[in-house]
Amino acid sequence: MIYILFSILLGGAILTFLANKISGLLRDTFFLLTMLGATLIFYTQLHIGGLVNFSIGSFNLEWGVNSFSWYFSLIVLGLGTLAAFYALSYMKGKENLGFFYFSFLISILSMLGIVMSHDLISFFIFWEMMTWSSYFMVIYSGKNVQKNGINYILFSAFGAYAMLTAIALVYANIHSLSIVEMISNYGQFSPALQTWIPILFLMAFSVKAAMMPLHVWAPGAYSDSPMAYTSVFSGALSKMGIYGMILIFVTMISHLPDDTWFREVFAWLGAITAIMGTLWAIAQDDARKLLAYSSVAQLGYIITGVAIGTDLAMLSALFLAALHALFKGTLFMAVGAVERQTGTVKFSEVTGLIRKMPWTFIASLLAIIALAGIPPLGGFVGKWMLYESLINSNHYILVIAIFFASTSAFLYCYKFLFGFFLGQEEKEWAHVKEAPALMVVPMLLMAGFLVILGTFPGILLKPADTAMQTLGFAPTEGHLWSMSVLFNAWGDQVLLRPLVYAIAGIFLFFLIILTVKGWKNTRYVTTKDISSSGEVPLEHENLTFSVNFYQPFLRAVGPVMKHRMITWYREFGAGMETIFDFTRRIYTGNGQTYAIYVMVFLVIILLLQNTIFG
């Protein structure tokens, strides 16, 4: 059955690529058919635990679905299908679409492959396929390809090669490549290996999950690839890094004799990524960069949750991972919709779209509320569990760091909404119409799902809990959460249903009072008709306030943001380039010098012959 799934995806990708030569319609139908077919088969036919193995090049590869991978495939296929619908209308006018759809489907295939592979070789193969198919996406738009594209492929290759070394070491020691075997006799490895193998694996995963030292590629890559794919890129692709991290932390690190320092380092790295990511997000003027940094920050939360490793923390990490895919997907789609309708994504250029793109506004409002973690929506549940787990496992300073990151997250949340939708309505954007239905529907679907999760998180916590049971955690159904109630280790609880009903009740009550009172004789007035200290601004005067939006706050945190990681990498790169240029000079071009090199080589070998040849 798994063969059929993969062959559909692969065959579909190739067919879509070829169909592009024939006709656009055929290509779109193939694309949709492949995507829907794959999702359908996955959720109907594939029963959990079915294993399939076959051998290639004297290694036997084993693929299978367990509930842990089923949970992550939920993210991949759910977000993937919605993004597929969105992509159909987002990519309408653009050229070489066959290439785009091909890489889209291949990346979905490789993500499924990663999640379903039970042995290291196929894990690595799918990992690399994911890398270069998403690389095609990053360079698809053709803008600053040398900078961001090379940056992305270099970092992911660095991570992939670290993983390859780890796999080679594991294979050399236990002569088998299956993950289960690696975990079971992880104890027998020499102490040095026992620390190095997880570190190497985590290097690869933290590159993909954009953790602090290795996150430099993320803003460039997320903002350059087309928005239709970025929602999958940041929503699902980065979760593969989290998938790997959870695997490593749960199976390997817990066996380590002194695993506390390991967890502390990663927890703090996650927290620092969260803080720096948020601060950088506040300072961005380009919406895509803002969202890119914000997903780096959100991933920081998830990494901290995974690193802490108590069952509540892991549960919150899994829940936040799925949630992040939802609201980040919606936000990137919203940016895509705005980019398609107005052509620019800069806050300083676009303003006042609320009346022209109301549905996009509602979707991004709900997504922002979820992102900020504010109660009525799902975000709060994840954040609450994360804080409780941090407090219960007495990481007190870490709680403060994470809380600071999430409060300053409100700043860029407001900047995103105000930048695009609120503020002055300018004439140049008067012509803007709402994004086509095919784009708005996926956004509203995801936002709606966030609302439901707000009151009934159990829907998502149930699969997350079964996933954790396969990892060996005790079932948390009873004592940590039930359908719409959250507990923490100290017995405190939050009953979500009454609270959300109360919030909704109060909100509607006062909203009705305000709108109904004097409904007859109040009329809508454009934003030009305001009483800014007495005199009325003229039509052509532009009063939009969006340039250096949080200047005072940024001045307050200035010293922390001065030294950026990317400058260190650039200097390192420049240093390497000069070294390369120097080594190039060895080949001087003069035939005689080459002959002299030969004689010098001979003399050296003659002199050293006893040392070399014993």
């Binding site: 190039r584 000079r585 080949y587 001087t588 071009g589 003069n590 035939g591 005689q592 002959a595 002299i596 004689m599």
Partner: protein, 137 residues
């Protein structure tokens, strides 16, 4: 047939010393001289030196040519020990065969080298190897 190398009389040493000397001269010319023609000449001197070295390996004091001419064989039965006895006095033929091919190869290489030198001169109008350096780094 045990072949000895270093317990030879002074004469045989002379061969080795001279061939090594010629090799060194050839090397010197090829590596230090700047003009192309001198380099090619140095290379051919080098070849000559090596060929001399090869020949001198097969040298036998007062050895005769390694041919079983009828005068030498004088209708002796061709048994194994007869052949061995006759070949005692003969010089070893194998290095000579090697040298023949080596000389032919040396000749071929020098011919190609000279044609290249002519073409280089036509383009660069100079024979100094230091000026012919556009393919670098």
């Amino acid at each position: 047939m045990e072949f000895k190398l270093f317990d030879l009389s002074i004469v045989e040493y002379a061969f080795f010393v001279t061939s090594v000397l010629i090799i060194l001269i050839g090397l010197y010319a090829a590596l230090v001289k700047k003009t192309l023609i001198k380099i090619v000449i140095g290379l051919s001197i080098l070849d000559a030196g090596i060929n001399l070295l090869l020949i001198s390996i097969g040298y036998l004091k007062a050895g005769t040519a390694p041919i079983f001419s009828p005068a030498l064989v004088k209708n002796m039965p061709l048994t194994l020990e007869n052949i061995k006895k006759l070949s005692e006095g003969m010089v070893d033929p194998v290095p000579q065969a090697l040298v023949l091919t080596a000389i032919v190869i040396g000749f071929g290489v020098t011919a190609v080298a000279l044609s290249l030198v002519i073409r280089l001169y036509r383009h660069h109008h100079t024979l100094n190897i230091d000026e012919i350096k556009n393919l670098k780094w």
